[in-house]
Symmetry: C2
Subunit: 407 residues, 2 copies
């Protein structure tokens, strides 16, 4: 019980906590006996049996055979039913709205991809509805909820898109609209922020408490996981590093300022600069030319690395983070490019701290990362399967939705 809770725990909260504790223990162990759960959690055997019975009744847990005897009767092993519930994860990307039906293990059961042809405002919202309708009709399992990663400034506490320039959404109460339409728990957060949660939950973040993921596509944004929780910042713009200036007297950015990181290191900026020099029409073309040692694309590609190194140094100085991961189509530039980022970071921040910071590539498919991160939000807040839930905005999010969470 945290000392910062200003109220005692009620019986109901304790029961929900214990139930989630048992579910998470089974989930994490794959196959486990009731006795082992009791040993690990410190709960009594009767309490464990009680919670397991309830979880089996809900269809979330099943008996899956017997484990080795430890002297007496061989224990019955329990396992989570991975497809007992499904959920919908959505990525409102700049080129298409993508979504998937996801099970309790984060496995994709069905995908829908709706290309975006310049729709914005109400038309973009209608496309979100169509995407969710198609996905919802593709599963017969009970839906836990819907998780959405959206570009732009997002207020995750109130579920409101404050500003998504490309979609022409301003103060759009996306959560309320979707709750009314689907009567399901809805979680909405910035796409880069949930991408970091995906990496923390399903990718290269499992062994660290703090993690920054820099997502580079059309734009650049970072997601920050601190102490195992997504950090949104007081004004919800945590990780908006794409619009921090890194070039003195630099190009004008679409945000109105000059010399932003996006103007030199986004996939769009790299592509634009490479096009001026060589015959390249996609980032994959630029990658091939770069890997083949084409001097004409070398400069814009390495300049992007340099400025990403500046951004990494700023993140190290602020957060002393152990792992910075880069996600997006630019990962095709490979290890040499990563090393250029690393070297610039080391040159620009305190050696004793920066030398402990790994810079690497995300291991998750860029097309899946936002969908998985949005799914992780649902699995975390609806069932408590992943990140710690106590404290911070996380708890607030959950309290303001129908999902509920132990405080």
């Amino acid at each position: 019980m945290p000392a910062h809770s200003s109220r005692k725990a009620t019986h109901q909260q304790t029961r929900l906590h214990n139930s989630r504790l048992v579910l998470k223990t089974i989930y994490d162990h794959g196959r486990i006996s009731r006795a082992e759960i009791a040993r690990i959690t410190g709960l009594t055997r009767p309490t464990v049996s009680d919670m397991v019975a309830e979880l089996m009744e809900e269809g979330l847990v099943e008996e899956v055979g017997q484990g080795p005897s430890e002297g007496g009767k061989p224990p019955i092993l329990l396992s989570v039913v991975d497809d007992a519930r499904h959920l919908i994860g959505i990525d409102l990307a700049s080129d298409a709205f993508r979504g998937a039906v996801i099970n309790l293990r984060g496995e994709t059961r069905h995908r829908v991809h709706l290309p975006l042809h310049g729709q914005d405002g109400e038309a973009a919202l209608q496309l979100v509805y169509r995407l969710i309708d198609e996905l919802a009709s593709a599963t017969d399992r009970p839906l836990l909820g819907i998780g959405i990663g959206t570009p732009g400034l997002m207020d995750p506490v109130n579920g409101v898109v404050r500003q998504a320039v490309n979609l022409d959404w301003q103060d759009l109460p996306l959560r309320r609209l979707l709750e009314e339409r689907y009567a399901l728990p809805i979680y909405v957060a910035n796409d880069c922020q949930v991408a970091a949660l995906a990496e923390y939950t399903f990718g290269k973040g499992k062994d660290v408490d703090n993690l920054v993921l820099i997502k580079i596509e059309h734009g650049i944004g970072a997601g920050i996981v601190l102490n195992g929780q997504l950090f949104y910042g007081s004004t919800f713009g945590a990780g908006e590093i794409g619009h921090v200036a890194v070039v003195e007297e630099g190009e004008r950015c679409r945000c109105g300022n000059f010399g932003c990181l996006e103007t030199v290191a986004s996939a769009r900026a790299i592509l634009q600069r490479a096009r001026r020099a060589a015959q390249t029409t996609t980032i994959a073309d630029v990658c091939r030319a770069f890997q083949n040692g084409d001097e004409r694309v070398r400069q814009p590609v390495l300049e992007a690395a340099k400025y990403l190194g500046v951004a990494a140094a700023n993140l190290v100085g602020a957060l002393s983070v152990r792992r910075i991961l880069i996600a997006g189509s630019v990962t095709c530039f490979g290890e040499g490019w990563l090393e250029a980022i690393r070297q610039e970071m080391l040159r620009r921040s305190l050696g004793a701290v920066a030398c402990q910071t790994e810079v690497g590539f995300s291991a998750i498919d860029p097309d899946d990362i936002v969908i998985l991160g949005a799914s992780a939000l649902v699995l975390t807040y609806e069932l408590g399967l992943f990140a710690p839930l106590a404290g911070g905005i996380g708890a607030t999010i959950a309290e303001t939705t129908s999902g509920g969470v132990t405080p």
Copy 2:
């Protein structure tokens, strides 16, 4: 109970939690009745009476008269005995080792100031002992513990000073040494980090959850409070912004890199640059000249503001923080200087986020801020009086000291 605790709460933990909850409620309210405590905390009347009796026996709480009747017998009011315990707060500053005896309200009861004449290594450690000895003998109250803010890279989990260049300390197990000598709970953290905690606890941070304090003296460092907790970072260097490069092809810094923020915006750098231009020997001289419109000092002083604006923009981009405070002797440059920092920050980060970030001066005396921050660590972890304790490194610190804390 947080869903991330992997164990159920034991009876003893619940009791400690409830006792701290009652103490904090009395502390926060000044004067309060048992009935009101029960109403606020949700604890039963008998539990409250039980906890109050215990706290009174320990001398931490006393009855201080009667409140207005609400129909029946007028209730007896309770109050915390502010001087029931004292603690020692220490600032290992670059010019002197300063310390104070502090009471439960953060009020100073006694001060000791030991100037530093180049002592380092073992001699500096002996000076720490002398400081604590003098302070300990100046109070007859039971000591809660000792809190220390130290320059350099500090591992607060193990209480080890990893690297304090000026003091020539490397991997010094300061906590263990002091625990053995004084048999008291010892809390050691980086001086800039605890300064931020001072501001959060006693200063301008009370109304926000996230706060960055930039401490500018000989060097520059920031302390970061996130979700009400001091954030150290995975590698404990969170806030080491003084050694992030902000000038291309800049001066060599004592850290070995070039163009670090310290080389242009520390009090030392400003003073050095101003000296070249005008007859100034202290920051106070530079301030007077700047306020009097002396053009010769204007440039170095405003250049410092510009680069602090760069640093502020980097912090906004990473953390989306609502309040950035500047502490140290440079606060004498006044509002105009602050405005220059603010403008540069706005020019270099996303407007929709940065416009919500206040930049201000610390309200705490620079000579007291580290002492108070170190004291806040002790009051927080020993009695649970301030910041939330659950989760993160905070909990880990407490578990590894004699103090103990509800997990």
